[in-house]
């Protein structure tokens, strides 16, 4: 099992943002994506997660192996922490949510409505969702936003456990997680603006 990206080109709103991107991840490996704001990291991750088609190139991994975590955590404010996690566990067909609760230090908050959590606690709940998906490839978009130092350490531990269990992680982040991981700066792959009439990529959007 591996994740291989070959000569990938992606677009956001019909404008190409990255071109010629290739990398591969084997079981137990993590890749940190870096690059300035607006370069297309989120678009890249959404494309790999299967939410949008690439312009060109290949993504080898099956969508069914990928667990995606976006900027928004998908938390329902009127459901409790436990209900939120149980919902995702049921959707992914996995049963036990205890390791996820313990892994992100949410055990004391299980009965709390998620709407009453702090921003960092919500983020931890959003990340705990990854552990109940049971999927091997984690695709994470800025996972450490609004986390304090201790929570970042919890998160890094969770990723390490996941990698040790044969999983993979693709993480776009600006901070140092202290993981033993390759780092890929996507800046050199920035797509040049197309000349008018040169490319018909936006026809699908008309």
């Amino acid at each position: 099992m591996s994740l291989t990206i070959k000569d990938l080109a992606i677009a956001r709103g019909g404008i190409p943002v990255l071109r010629g991107l290739s990398f591969s991840l084997a079981a137990g490996e993590a890749l940190i994506l870096r690059g300035p704001n607006g370069i297309g990291k989120t678009t890249l991750l959404r494309t790999i997660a299967g939410l949008q088609p690439p312009l060109a190139g290949e993504i080898s991994a099956d969508r069914e192996l990928i667990a995606y975590a976006a900027h928004a955590d998908g938390i329902k404010a009127t459901l409790s922490v436990e209900e939120n996690l149980r919902f995702w566990a049921a959707i992914y067909g996995t049963g036990d949510i205890t390791p996820a609760l313990e892994g992100f230090d949410l055990t004391k908050l299980t009965d709390r409505p998620a709407g009453g959590l702090s921003a960092g606690q919500k983020r931890r709940l959003g990340l705990a969702r990854l552990m109940v998906t049971g999927r091997p490839i984690w695709v994470l978009d800025e996972p450490t936003v609004s986390l304090d130092v201790a929570s970042v350490a919890l998160f890094a531990q969770a990723v390490q456990r996941h990698l040790a269990g044969g999983g993979m992680a693709l993480i776009a982040t600006h901070i140092d997680l202290g993981l033993d991981a390759q780092v890929l700066d996507v800046t050199p792959f920035k797509a040049r603006a197309p000349l008018r009439g040169e490319d018909d990529f936006d026809e699908a959007f008309l």
């Binding site: 939410l51 949008q52 976006a70 992914y92």
Partner: protein, 218 residues
């Protein structure tokens, strides 16, 4: 899949879920119409089937934008699209949850509201039956409209404009069943057409809704 349905029902019933919205709107319409039309029982009885169907349709329309908007805003829709559930199943369950929280209460409350509109005695059965057969189509059509407008800020106006023409056949045949029933005439033809519209919508529209939702999530 059941988990998604249960979650949607739970969310609708909890604070801010908008469960009573359609029902309250339906009640307001049927309470106010007799005031506006005047105390003429004969006239009221004649327009009752049409007014009741119109009230139910507008009540349904009122809650459509909640079907996907909330899940879109908090990012759940993106995460659900990457989950093992097929998009067609998601939209079908969403439509079912909408019907259970909006259409079904309207069907059950209709006899009471018929009383407020002095609906003739023979009309109750047909009113309830026509609503029970017709409202699922309203939910499925509405889910399609909601999928089209997901991601638009305050897309409610566009949603209403898109969905209303699609609602017209259901309204015509639904109200016709209730009217003919109330007058003691044969109801088979409009009833079958109404059932046909509902079956056709349920069979075809989830695929259309899933397709537009996928495009909208890009």
């Amino acid at each position: 899949m059941i988990a998604l349905l249960i979650r949607d029902l739970k969310l609708a019933l909890r604070a801010g879920g908008g469960f009573g919205l359609g029902l309250a709107f339906f009640l307001i319409v049927t309470v106010l119409v007799p005031f506006a039309v005047g105390p003429e029982t004969g006239l009221l009885a004649r327009i009752a089937p049409g007014i009741l169907w119109l009230g139910a349709l507008l009540a349904c329309l009122l809650s459509l934008d909640r079907i996907f908007a909330l899940d879109w805003e908090d990012g759940t829709l993106d995460l659900m699209a990457t989950a093992p559930l097929p998009m067609e199943a998601i939209v079908t369950l969403k439509a079912l949850a909408h019907w259970l929280t909006t259409g079904l209460p309207l069907v059950l409350a209709a006899p009471l509201f018929g009383l407020l509109m002095s609906l003739p005695g023979e009309g109750y059965l047909w009113l309830v039956l026509s609503l029970a057969i017709g409202t699922p189509a309203l939910s499925v059509l509405g889910t399609f409209g909601a999928a089209l407008t997901v991601g638009l800020k305050r897309g409610g106006l566009l949603l209403s404009l898109l969905v209303l023409p699609l609602y017209v056949p259901t309204l015509i045949f639904g109200a016709e069943v209730a009217r003919r029933g109330a007058q003691g005439l044969a109801v088979e033809a409009p009833l079958l057409l109404l059932a046909g519209i509902t079956c056709g919508s349920i069979a075809l529209l989830p695929f259309a809704s899933a397709a537009v939702l996928r495009v909208n999530l890009r």
